[in-house]
């Protein structure tokens, strides 16, 4: 079956064990999680997770439904294919000499990245963008020698005025009434 990259966004209670429970549903089917990013959301005590996995659409949808059943998961959507803003942040430590430092800074400028640390023989660059942009810059920097990379993994947000919880509050209300 053809697999594609899926971006799944979830709002979950920030309690121990939630991540384990979700990850277990992916692991069970042998999915490798490409990236996972977790942080606070707009709602107190709810964390937002962005998970990137490779899989067939039908399988990912089935797993999404199972994730949705996890008691501590408030909402989970697959936003693949939706018009959304996608970002990742990377810190890249590059070997630099006095001779090529200027060239590296120039590359960073082209990508609107910034230099966040300098030492005698290295530069640390901070770059934000989608994976393609980060990969393109990495390609250019490899020639200089990369000492260390730290990447956050993808975070994403659907464009337009609606929040992730739009509609689900209504669902919660009618759900509790029934």
């Amino acid at each position: 079956m053809a697999t594609t990259k899926h971006t799944i966004v979830a709002l979950v209670a920030d309690k121990p064990g939630v991540l384990n429970r979700m990850a277990s549903l992916f692991r069970r089917r042998g999915f490798n999680i490409d990236s996972i990013a977790v942080g606070h959301s707009e709602v107190p005590h709810l964390s937002r997770m962005t998970i990137v996995v490779n899989g067939s659409t039908a399988t990912v949808e089935q797993v999404r439904k199972q994730v949705d059943k996890v008691v501590d998961v408030v909402k989970v959507t697959d936003i693949t294919g939706e018009n959304s803003t996608v970002r990742e942040l990377a810190l890249i430590k590059v070997r630099a000499t006095s001779a090529n430092r200027g060239e590296i800074i120039e590359i960073a400028d082209i990508f609107r990245a910034s230099i966040v640390d300098v030492s005698a023989d290295s530069l640390t660059i901070e770059i934000t963008g989608d994976e393609d942009k980060i990969e393109s810059m990495l390609k250019l920097l490899r020639g200089f020698g990369i000492r260390e990379i730290a990447r956050t993994g993808r975070i994403a947000m659907v464009r337009g005025g609606k929040g992730l919880l739009a509609g689900s509050e209504k669902q919660t209300r009618t759900g509790s009434k029934q």
Partner: protein, 569 residues
């Protein structure tokens, strides 16, 4: 008022209506055990192995619809529960498992009898908790029972460190459960219900395929009304057995791998298939690409994740089975389907799946049919897993809801005796028969001790064929009769029963069957009958693995030659 964690657990259980706990003590849960006598409304039944506690809680929950509770200590106590929890998870049975844990300062240090049981049970529980603060205990107890019993039921585990039992708290139980992420769609979508009704009203060859969801939802009356109004034949899954009276005109029995021939024919030929509270397990569907080729499928289930999981569905309805059927009953027209039912009756004649060969030897099917006759089909039957289970499913005619207790999803050998025990405790006024195989029974035979000590009057029918029968059957049919690791030497079960101080008799001939069952029924207390049945009898019909359900093998009407009996010690 200040209470200890152990008191909170007990009070919580009392509040949740718990009457009985199946458990086994140990170091980490001792503070709880020490508190138990202060709560006489909580009956504790000491099992012989924690797996028995989980299965007993499971059997109790299946026949009562209430939450079953099992209790074990940390480490090995907790891991011994795992099979039972997994079993309850796959069959959607509400149980709460309470485990002791080492005291908080020892957690994560590989302390004596420490195991990460919440980690282990993640994939087999609906929810689980490691309680690190006694103040959280009231909320967690309340949540656990709510989650276990509501929606699609399932097991919940609460892991409580020894010192959390001892610490005190003033926190009260919350008035209601507040879980933002736990929503249950109860009402079926009206548009979908309308669509389904239209399909049903226009159907020419409709069948209802009813599963355990009907029993969980308590929708037997609604199902019956639905079937009778529209005159639709009713088939059930293994776990759906007893949700519709098998004595009913419209009942065509169980489908699937060992389903009845005519039931599988009906499922295969239907033009509209109304699946109610079932999940299209591979044992039901057979080869998925050939499944119900002409049918438009209406799937009613509470769990959205089950819709479209295994088969394509034309009209999905997510909602509680009882509510959806009630809504549907308002829209479904009176039907006839005379030709279709006539066709089914022809198939019933053509494939007499329930006919029992007339032979001298003692056939297990004969034992079950006599058991059914003598109990009037009124008993609760709890089974092991394997041939005994399939014969009990096929040859006993169930007509009261929740009278068939069996491990469907996980297929757990050893489920029979402990689940029968739980069922008897839950419904003491009912006759409870445990139908088990010699292999399956030996996995949990130690619970004979429990039924004697706690005076649980379970009647046990061992279908003793000296083999791991179902596996042997596969070897016979698909592995060139190479019986590797399936011949089984058994103890003398009658003597084992006697050693446990319960009466038992052995039956080797047909004419002894009825008197033996009558003797067991007349006896006030547990009783064991060791039926020495035909060793190489097979379960038929059978859909070979990987085949379409309609490609079932009918019973070959052969006389099996005598086989040296291996079970006599």
């Amino acid at each position: 008022m200040k209470r200890t964690g152990a008191q909170v657990v007990c009070e919580g259980m009392v509040q949740e209506g718990v009457e009985v706990i199946f458990g086994f003590p140990g170091g980490s849960v001792l503070p709880l055990y020490d508190t138990l006598p202060k709560y006489p409304e909580l009956r504790h039944i000491l099992v012989r192995h924690e797996q028995g506690a989980a299965h007993a809680a499971d059997g109790y929950a299946r026949v009562t619809g209430k939450v079953g509770v099992c209790l074990a200590t940390s480490g090995p106590g907790a891991t011994n529960l795992v099979t039972g929890i997994a079993n309850a998870y796959l069959d959607s049975v509400p149980i709460v498992a309470i485990t002791g844990q080492v005291a908080r300062p020892f957690i994560g240090k590989d302390a004596f009898q420490e195991i990460d049981i919440t980690g282990i049970t993640v994939p087999i529980t609906k929810q689980n908790y490691l309680v690190l603060d006694t103040n959280e205990l009231p909320r967690i107890i309340k949540e656990a029972f709510h989650i276990a019993r509501s929606g699609r039921p399932g097991p919940v585990l609460i892991d409580i460190p020894r010192d959390v039992f001892i610490d005190q708290t003033e926190v009260d139980f919350p008035g209601k459960v507040d879980l933002a992420g736990y929503r249950i769609v109860q009402q079926g979508h009206p548009t979908q219900v309308k669509k389904a009704a239209k399909l049903i009203n226009e159907a020419r060859r409709p069948v209802i395929l009813a599963g355990r969801g009907v029993l969980i939802s308590g929708a037997h009356d609604e199902l019956r009304h639905f079937a009778e109004t529209a005159q639709i034949p009713v088939l059930t899954t293994l776990l759906g057995i007893s949700c519709f009276p098998e004595t009913h005109m419209l009942s065509y029995g169980m489908v699937g791998m060992h389903g009845l021939g005519y039931a599988n024919k009906a499922m295969d030929s239907a033009d509209v298939l109304i699946a109610v509270g079932m999940r299209f397990d591979d044992r039901v569907t057979g080869k998925i690409s050939a499944y119900a080729p002409d049918a438009r499928i209406i799937h009613i289930d509470l769990d959205p994740a089950e819709i479209g999981k295994n088969v394509r569905v034309d009209v999905p309805i997510v909602g509680d089975v009882k509510r959806v059927l009630t809504a549907l009953n308002k829209l479904v027209e009176t039907g006839e389907h005379v030709d279709w039912i006539r066709q089914l009756e022809e198939w019933r004649k053509q494939y007499p799946s329930l006919d029992i060969r007339d032979t001298e030897s003692l056939l297990p099917q004969y034992v079950i049919s006599k058991l059914c006759e003598i109990t009037g089909g009124e008993a609760i039957v709890a089974t092991g897993v394997g041939q005994n289970q399939m014969w009990a499913a096929q040859h006993y005619s169930y007509h009261q809801p929740n009278t068939f207790v069996s491990s469907g999803g996980l297929g757990t050998m050893g489920f029979g005796l402990p689940s029968a025990m739980g069922a008897k405790v839950g419904r003491p006024e009912s006759t409870v028969w445990c139908v088990d195989g010699d292999g399956s029974l030996q996995m949990t035979i130690q619970e004979l001790g429990t039924i004697v000590q706690d005076k649980i009057a379970v009647k046990i029918a061992v279908l003793n064929n000296g083999f791991l029968g179902m596996v042997r059957q596969w070897q016979e049919l698909f592995y060139g009769k190479r019986y590797v690791a399936t011949p089984l030497s058994c103890p003398d079960f009658v003597k084992v029963a006697e050693a446990y101080c319960l009466p038992g008799i052995r039956v080797t001939r047909k004419e002894e069957v009825v008197p033996a069952i009558e003797q067991a029924m007349a006896h006030d207390g547990p009783f064991l009958i060791d039926f020495m049945v035909e060793p190489e009898e097979n379960v038929f019909p059978m859909v070979p693995p990987g085949a379409a359900t309609v490609e079932f093998i009918e019973s070959p009407k052969k006389e099996v030659p005598a086989w040296p009996r291996r079970s006599t010690p």
